[in-house]
Amino acid sequence: MSTGVISPTPTAARATSTAVEYLKLTKPRVISLLLVTTAAAMFTAARGVPNGWLILWTMVGGFLAAGGANAINHYVDRDIDGHMKRTDARPVVAGSVTPRRALVFGLACGVASAALLATAANELAAVLAVMGLAVYVGIYTLWLKRSTVHNIVIGGAAGAFPPLVGWAAVTGHLGLYAWLMFAIVFYWTPPHFWALALLLQNDYAAAGVPMLPVVHGEDATRRQIFLWTLVMVGVTVLPCAAGLAGWTYFTGALILNAVFVALAFRLWRTPSRALAKATFHYSLLYLALVFVLMAIDAA
């Protein structure tokens, strides 16, 4: 008796499952925030709405560059990912994608990103996207991640490239505002990542990754989160100091910063897993809103 539902063939189901595993290699949830910063940089650079096709192709190119970097990260970190609960189900560790295929996929994504951005946007955007990939893989994953507590401070530069790509795609060059966007992401990364590290410190310890709470303890980490949050607040108002952003951005940024500082201060004074989680989640919303504010202010 027919149920009226067409079951996928085994081949189609397998192809879908494989595609999902490759999509997982790109860490799409992490990339979504990076793409918000890219898009906001494009709107800010254009002082309005950029060409729709340019937005689309820059987003796709940015996704490929960041996704490629993440896939290569899965390949490089396959020896430690199995020791961490957060990462032990990743495709390479779980065996659903072979290490070699993950590496080839990552490199192919990087090449495709460069080709797409060079064709649809310009060479500078393509070079910056590849540089972001290279910093993430070469500086962060291969060099700093396992060797210093400053891993995510310096390595955080990798995550700061997407707004540069967006700005370059629209204007073909980089100005002070683009570098200030880079700096906002760079100085936002430590409080954001250390809040997460407080929650996952046992995982990092098991994998031998020298994250700040693993090496110097929770108290030192919470103090550093607070201090770096203050530094970040200063960086976020620099576009106004340079005369590049107006009162709309300044007022909105002050409100967003006040909440971040309050959370970081409470986390510093009151050791709490719930506060660390709240700080981490708020930091995600915060970065997206700061960039949206810049785009609104520039329109």
Partner: protein
């Protein structure tokens, strides 16, 4: 004519003009002061704290490397502050 380009008698006055522009805008001046007040003391305290945390048993080379990683973001901060201020 030379003054219009910020150069008078061999001296470059364009930076002075930029600083004047900073004083002329309440938003720019407020934001600049806020940035300096937030970034410099917090950056300095963060640096001192990180330097205190360096294990004494580390080799001089390892300590120098950690110092470099601690100082580099602060240098970036000062550069950004100056760059934004002289626009």
């Amino acid at each position: 004519m030379a003054a219009a380009h910020g150069v008078v008698g061999g001296a470059d006055w364009s930076i002075l003009a930029s600083v004047n522009a900073l004083y002329d805008s309440p938003l720019r001046l407020t934001a600049f002061c806020l940035a300096a007040v937030m970034m410099i003391p917090a950056g300095w305290l963060s640096l001192r704290h990180m330097l205190e945390l360096r294990p004494t048993e580390d080799s001089p080379r390892a300590r120098a490397r950690e110092t470099m990683w601690s100082i580099a973001p602060l240098i970036g901060l000062i550069a950004l502050l100056i760059w934004a201020g002289v626009q």
